[in-house]
Subunit: 140 residues, 2 copies
DNA sequence: CTTCTTGCAAATCATTTGCAGGGCG
DNA sequence: CGCCCTGCAAATGATTTGCAAGAAG
């Protein structure tokens, strides 16, 4: 089990129950993506009633501290633990499944495009929307 | 000057003043991207007071009809005339500049990734965020 | 005429913020 | 004990919707 206390401390954030719980939720399924509402409901199921405002605050702070990554798609933002290995996302428009992928060639091309145009890339977001393998099977 | 009446008709939409005006705004600088509010203000300057609700409605309808493309970034959505030539976007986080680019290699890789995972891609969004050439110059 | 559109205000959704009370260090 | 944090409610920003009045075909 990861030690979120240390991570919070080294980010200069006080170690509090809400913060620990939220990070634990995110760490439970390291490649799952949750909305703030999701997290609120999951915490409620554990008997922890933490306001959504706090959840948004904690997530935003942790994002700035590099502990959490935010994924903007259509609809509410989704959050995941930041695992240092950069990746992009595929989102199934039928069932909501989110999967990750990484492609070195795409990354390299992005750098080339930026260099050619004189941009300094700070960040990028790439989301593929479609029907996942499971849903395609069900649709047949 | 493009004939937006015909485009609206073949999309099954009635030809109305608000629709024509909105498409004209978008067509004026074919590679510019506007928010609904932008369009509202531009129309006001021309003396046309069209409510934002209408603008959103028109844009959404035209998007579904394939006449308009919506670009989701941080902040409000931006709209542009749909010009058939698919492209992705670079957004300057300092001045808001939006530029377009296209890269066949990236597109091809996206298809490969989808094929390997069994996805059927319906759409994708890719936005590079950074500092544009002009802003970099000014910052020096 | 009938149906699709618009306008306006009210509703909604996601997210943020102000402020008073609590808790960590 | 002081400052950071949380809770709650109210504020905000973007977008949508209901409904009555107006135009398009």
């Amino acid at each position: 089990m990861t030690d979120y206390s240390d991570k919070l401390k080294s980010a200069g954030l006080k170690v509090t129950l809400p913060r620990l719980r939220i990070l634990e939720i995110l760490g439970r399924h390291p490649n799952r993506h949750h909305t703030a509402e999701d997290i609120y409901r999951l915490l409620l199921q554990n008997g922890e009633d933490i306001g959504v405002a706090t959840i948004y605050r904690v997530l935003t702070q942790c994002e700035q501290a590099g502990l959490v990554a935010r994924l903007q798609t259509e609809g509410p933002a989704m959050f995941e633990l930041n695992r240092e290995n950069h990746h992009d996302h595929f989102v199934c428009t039928r069932c909501g499944l989110v999967e990750e992928f990484h492609d070195g060639i795409i990354e390299e091309r992005q750098r080339k495009i930026a260099a050619r145009a004189g941009y300094e890339i700070v960040d990028h977001s790439m989301v593929l929307y479609g029907i996942c393998a499971d849903c395609r099977r069900q649709l047949k």
